[in-house]
Subunit: 688 residues, 2 copies
Amino acid sequence: MKSSDRYPGRETDDKSNNQDQENQSETTHNKIPLLSDPWKPCRQPRAIVKGWLLKVRCCLGTVCGMEWYGYAALGILTALLSFLMDLTVAKLLRAHQWLYMKLEGSLLLQFFCWTLYPACLCAFGSSFSHNICPFSTGSGVPEVRTMLTGIEMPHYLSLTHLFTKFLGLICTLAAGSTVFLGKVGPFVHISTMVGGYIHNLCALIQPGEEKAAKEMLVVASAVGVASCFGAPIAGVLFGVEVMSSHFTLKNYCPSFFSSACGALTFCLLSFWSGDGETLQVLFRTNFPTVLPFYPLEILLFAFLGLLCGAVSCCYLFCHRWILRFTKTNPVLIKMLTTEKALYSGMVVFFLASLTFPHSAGQYMASKYTMKQLLTSLLDSSQWSSKSHNASVQLEPLLEWSSSGTPVCFSLAFFLLMKMWMLVLACTLPLPAGYFMPVFIYGAAIGRLLGEAVVYVSSMGVGLGQQWASNLNPGGYALAGAAAYSGAVTHTLSPALLAIELTGQFSHAVPILVSTLLANALARRGHRPSFYDALAISKKLPHLPSLKKACPRLPFTPVGQVLGVKLEQLQRAAGPLEVQRVVNSSSETQIPVVDSHESQILLGFVLRSELLMFLRHCQTESLDQCLNDVCCIHPTSVLLSPYNTVQEAHSILSVVGAQTLFVADKGRLVGLITLPEMKRILEDLAKDI
Amino acid sequence: MKSSDRYPGRETDDKSNNQDQENQSETTHNKIPLLSDPWKPCRQPRAIVKGWLLKVRCCLGTVCGMEWYGYAALGILTALLSFLMDLTVAKLLRAHQWLYMKLEGSLLLQFFCWTLYPACLCAFGSSFSHNICPFSTGSGVPEVRTMLTGIEMPHYLSLTHLFTKFLGLICTLAAGSTVFLGKVGPFVHISTMVGGYIHNLCALIQPGEEKAAKEMLVVASAVGVASCFGAPIAGVLFGVEVMSSHFTLKNYCPSFFSSACGALTFCLLSFWSGDGETLQVLFRTNFPTVLPFYPLEILLFAFLGLLCGAVSCCYLFCHRWILRFTKTNPVLIKMLTTEKALYSGMVVFFLASLTFPHSAGQYMASKYTMKQLLTSLLDSSQWSSKSHNASVQLEPLLEWSSSGTPVCFSLAFFLLMKMWMLVLACTLPLPAGYFMPVFIYGAAIGRLLGEAVVYVSSMGVGLGQQWASNLNPGGYALAGAAAYSGAVTHTLSPALLAIELTGQFSHAVPILVSTLLANALARRGHRPSFYDALAISKKLPHLPSLKKACPRLPFTPVGQVLGVKLEQLQRAAGPLEVQRVVNSSSETQIPVVDSHESQILLGFVLRSELLMFLRHCQTESLDQCLNDVCCIHPTSVLLSPYNTVQEAHSILSVVGAQTLFVADKGRLVGLITLPEMKRILEDLAKDI
């Protein structure tokens, strides 16, 4: 509080960095519609409603700050959206399955039903999102990460964007396991958009206590994961990890609170809509509780982690290659700029014809939806030993070896095909998440290893026959899912997410071991993660991603990248000089130097004070100088031109200063604000 | 890397902030004993061993950086210590129980056995720790939190301290549930001491790549919790929470890795020493998996959270009162400074005579150890309904209603008595943790509520009779434990700890809800947490705690608290002035101003360069000035005297700058380093 008394510029910067100071009094006025809008009709009823609303606000305010209601609303709203989306997608998927079953008998009609339904959905989704909001394609996580470093990207927080992303994502998800894309990434983005909207609402209700939108965005990123899966703690860990260098602990409790609200709402909605007797995890498993795993199996889990790490490196390489390819191949560039719907339709048709259950799809369990795929892979019974015994057919096994092929072949074929199909699907211009497919892919890797271990053990090799009957391939699938998705995204929260999704705490240690080792392998040599690659490809001003592309880049001295010559005032400036500066500069803080010759930085004056000074001079027609009338505020933190971009960035985003002056030996050199930092980073990204 | 090229002072500051620059070359030389010690005997074998060691180092270095081996060693060592301690304490407790049983028949002998055994242990522990290392009493968490803000407290990281704390803690724990103190806090401290030692070792092996000790300490604080309970993720969350304002994400992966190593080692050791077939959680529970709780019970869990929050406020008030009382009461002051052993013995004798199973102890299940108490409280069967039916006696119930009193009476009596007994036990000058007792106390609150709900429901009131049989009071106990311990420490990680301790993921949502609400109530009005109160009472230089005691304190401008007049050089300084400054100042970075009149800060020179300059002048007998010979390094970040202590503190601890110059309008005013910050905070703490 006190600091803002001394640095009035800091507070005003929050809300009006991009608008002129002179408009500010009107803006503030407009922001309180509850209090004054005299020209509107029905004054009497409006006044009564206003009075009641103010009373409600007072009552709510006594319990806790208005922002906490915002956090609760954020959690509940996001969970509601998530539940609605799940419901719609389930209905659309069931409609597809119903149609496909009805057409039983005619192979051609079944083929067209199988391929055209997702192709049309994706073409529609692609065209829709392209026309309404072209930014809405892709995951959204790279953009969210960029916004969380403090850089403003207003396009990515608009309500139109929210609407487009929501509908587009439904189309993508309804295309099912054919397209093999997920929900998490866009949902994190949707959650931040809801967060941004609620932040504006809070600012409207309680105009005095404006807080930086960034806090709400950090909370929202945690809520996105939490309400997508009903996994509050993994959500918070994701929120911690998604921050680039420092996690502000002020956001920790709000994140937990909002995530808990979101997860609770999501679980309650699922419970009320379903037939269970209690709140359940999303993917119920039936792991044995008495002997979940032998301690020596830890070594196998460690090997699984390394395997997942290695496969993830291969996948990330292919992904980076296709990102480059879509940027350089002229045919693809043309297709992806003008004929998005056609491209989406064609690619999805191609993918769907491959997964058609009467063609290669029979070896890939393609009849399963994404959720069924994961549930089947996490099944705790041993398929490879059961498939010998034809009389005992297990439900999940039914689909994986429907063509009579061995399960291991099906799994290997699934892994081989889905690798490049997923890479291809990543080029689709649709709102789509890339986490869930990777999670399922990892589960398949784990399952394959698990089944192989069971097979080898039942032969009497290695762990021995007496162990074989107690081995649980589902545990390997779970560990594999966490390890592979963690390796692809370079995060550790998937380990906790895997636990929260299944409620299987017994496997916590093996999951953690595999995830850590997979991450260690994937992060070697400072390779970019999946999201880093997307950010680099989109040239987003996200410093940690740019660092992956060019390690020396964050160490560029700020002196080298400072922008155009800075407008400044000397202490003895008269009205003419002040008028010139006010006209030519749009910054809210104008630096004041001792004299134009010495350039010794004294501090800054606020734009509003300069305007007052000008008005004062006009009315009183006096020829006073700046020093006599205006208060020169001391600068907060001063950088030298030899400070690196990284240091400037972390001071801006961590210390919360809005404007940093750069001075060399006391002489003013330049000024860095968040918009200026955005420009600097965008310039640096261009050169990569 | 590049930044350190430009600011050589920054790197040297890490290792030699307290020692003179001139000794540095010798110091570095001494730090590489592997390479050169020509005067020692057995040169030939030593050379061979050296060669092998260097080869091993090279091999290890190719896999990953040396610090990762350090993190692994930290986890494994801490887990080993934790396991050893558990083993010793279990043996000592069994010896006590055996003796007590052998004396069956003679009430007086039994009384003396019951009271004198813990009293003697505590008196010994108190006297031992007082004589060897007087700082080793108490929890250690407040000191660790202070060290994690970057402030050096070398006394708290010595090996003697580690040894004293370890032995003292064994004495405290062996006194059992009579003294009712725990292990976590001191173990976090022990872990940081091990971390500090391993950090020194790493620096010795790889002298080129020294890293700040702070990183290892952050990791160690997570490992402490993880290897105390085998709970890796809760450990990491504790590590995040224990940081005052910003968690550096660079420490996130190491924390996870080291915690996983610690937890895995701890689980494996427990497995090998026990008779289980697999790795188990510390407190096995038998909660029903089909219907863990009804969704409507969430409301009861929320009420439990609020109840725990309210009780925690009361407890914290009593705790703060007794802390003040021990500081102001002259008798206690005298006792606690000179007669620590006597005081400990007397208090423990008093506590033990109260818990004697033939006196009030029979209503408090005092025969149970801490571990048995928690296990009994987490039992999922309903005591209140079972105790009506005398023929079915449950094992945990046996002790809680051994005197034939109703269970609810026993629980209420336990809560009432343990409240003040725990407050009294907190004054004991012993190495002791205060988390576990609080955790058990919370479990008792939850159990009491759970049993009450079962009783009321079985009467047909509220939730109804058909629900009553499915209610699980153990779930309430678990949620209560997390909520109460979270409220007392103002943290949320106990929620995850409760899950990891019991493996009961089914209760994740209720636990989270209660913990959040309890925290919300406990944190209202910026009351200090348990650890804050300890830090304030000990006058530690920990800014967030001081803020709780005096909210305006962190907003003190640095200009007001800057120390003595700063030594500075002018650009044209000759050898005489340089000699004077080198003699009078001990800083490694000496500021250089334009001239003593203008005081415009140009940058700084390193002490080592000044010494070189002097040598240069002496040998060549030239009268050169500073500007001609030395390189004036630009200052990194410059503060103004109007910046607050909080801002300076966060820049120091977050941005990683080691020396901050303070300048007003280009003129040098002062300099802030971490030791200087420590002095400032200690001065500020004095005034509270």
